[in-house]
């Protein structure tokens, strides 16, 4: 009888522990929303984790903005050609000035009822947004392919920004749930979203927001236009200038990039799996999956496009859209060397381009 009681106690303990662990796991997965399907990876997570290296600062040494303040568009201290990262959701629009983001790299925000982390890496010129649930993301101080490595403050897991994949900890191998962020100018963003709010430079931290430590985008100078990179890369190519702006996308099994300046001239470009259209209003690219059909997208006036006899805005084509990420060419290639690309209107593969970038 005593043995049966002891066995019962052991079973009850195991059952209770299992329930508790399952519950904590469920809670954790709710804290940081993760994508159901992963993006294709250029290399294994193990290889990424091994290649990750310190950029210098300790975790949170580059402080994220966790209590962002905003101003009305009329009170924004921005010039028309200042770069902003734009995000809109549920009728709310936000502009995150590059001159503020360069010092903080992450804003943990809530837009249209959605908790998001807007992230920016100055070294790779990538602005990407991720759903964050109830947790916040921070800057780990580590770099992978010169690109910022984020960390989830709840689990401690580190994530590559561009690959959006967990590199270690509880979320290793899992993919962040990404949202579209647009890299454009203040003038263009405001024209598209007149009611937008603008991230204030009252960040809770003190910085000289008038100075970009890397260079300038108006016009492009310093690191942003120089040939060469600072940190080691897993893959590199001389197909384009390292700092050429490309717009890329990835699905579960393939990736693609389009050279933005080429896309702006052609307005519509296609690869085997993707079609890209240029949005002249925002000077941005919108990428779609071609699917089994071969959609014939035709450019029309006023930045509109015709598909199947109907006219649509660049962002509203009735195709499966992909998250579009603008990046320096070297950065996209270092993560996705197998990307599809359009070999026209630019530099032929293998041809070297060096020197400062004037665009």
């Amino acid at each position: 009888m005593r043995r049966i009681f002891l066995l019962f106690c052991v079973m009850l303990t195991v059952f209770t522990a299992d329930r508790l662990l399952t519950a904590s796991g469920a809670k954790a997965s709710q804290s940081l929303p993760l994508a159901e399907t992963s993006y294709v990876l250029g290399d294994s997570v193990e290889t990424y984790a091994a290649f990750m290296m310190s950029g210098g600062p300790p975790p949170d040494g580059i402080p994220s903005i966790d209590r962002p303040r905003f101003r009305d568009a009329d009170r924004a201290d921005l010039r028309p050609d200042d770069i902003v990262m734009g995000f809109h959701h549920n009728g709310e629009a936000r502009a995150y000035p590059q001159k503020v983001m360069v010092w903080h790299e992450i804003v943990n925000d809530r837009v249209g009822g959605l908790n998001v982390a807007i992230t920016y890496c100055p070294l790779t010129a990538t602005a990407q947004g991720f759903k964050r649930g109830d947790t916040t993301l921070g800057v780990s101080g580590q770099l992978l392919n010169s690109n910022v490595v984020l960390f989830d403050r709840e689990s401690g897991s580190r994530f590559s920004q561009i690959a959006a994949v967990g590199l270690d900890g509880r979320h290793r191998g899992r993919t962040l749930d990404e949202v579209n962020v647009v890299w454009t100018t203040w003038e263009r963003w405001r024209a598209a979203f007149p009611e937008t709010l603008v991230l204030s430079d009252e960040t809770g931290h003190l910085r000289n927001y008038e100075r970009d430590p890397y260079g300038s985008y108006t016009p492009r100078s310093g690191y942003y236009s120089q040939a060469g990179t600072i940190f080691p890369l897993m893959h590199s190519s001389d197909r384009h200038h390292e700092k050429e702006m490309v717009v890329g996308a990835r699905t579960s099994d393939r990736s693609v990039y389009f050279v933005l300046s080429d896309l702006a001239r052609a307005r519509v470009q296609s690869t085997a799996s993707f079609v890209a259209v240029y949005d002249p209003g925002l000077d941005a690219g919108h990428l779609y999956l071609r699917g089994d059909e071969d959609p014939e997208v035709l450019p029309r006036g006023n930045g509109m496009y015709e598909l199947g006899g109907q006219v649509y805005a660049a962002s509203d084509l009735p195709l499966t859209s992909a998250i579009s990420v603008e990046a320096f060419f070297f950065a996209w290639y270092s993560f996705y060397p197998e990307s599809e690309f359009v070999d026209e209107g630019g530099v032929a593969p293998g041809e070297s381009v060096r020197g400062d970038l004037g665009r």
């Binding site: 890496c121 890397y214 120089q226 600072i230």
Partner: protein, 207 residues
Amino acid sequence: MTGSRRSALSRLTTLLRVRFYRRVSIGVAGVYMLLFMVALRDVSRGGTGIRFLTADWRRMFERTGAFTFEPIAQLVLPGVTVLLSPGNLLVGMVVAVLVGLNLAVTVLAFREPAACRFNRSAGVLASLPALLAGSACCAPVIVLLLGLQLSAVLVSAFQVLIPASVILLLITLKLVLDRTDVERIEVEGEAFPSGDIRGSGTSNATL
């Protein structure tokens, strides 16, 4: 060697009793402090109007780099912005004082070759690493300026530039002082009376 019978600290004290060397130390330390703040981007171009801003004082303990800290006050002047970080000021003062002392001894070596037998540029060279320690978010400023590519080893090396500078400065100061015969410093044409120098306006080293 007379100097070997006295401690380095004692020789330093003796040297600083001479107003000229004291002024050299303070002046060099002040200039170095300014350079250090520029290197760390605590002093930078850009700014409109005149404003004084403050942040939560507890941020002063938050690190932005291996040996750099968050500012808690900001002075904006037309064309210049100054960030005040107690941690950076403390680190900068330690390095600046050591640089000032090194330079004072170096000046002594140039002015009084008979009093010092050591590589005269050692102290100056030792002061350089800390000036390279400034970083711009993810990358050292010097790397950005020169367009260099970093390896993991170099990144680690940049993390220890400030302590490396302090250690080098202490070593060079000690080495130079150990080889310095302060009694041979001439004051108004007479040999230094060991341990009997006052910082009065009448004590001036001669060339």
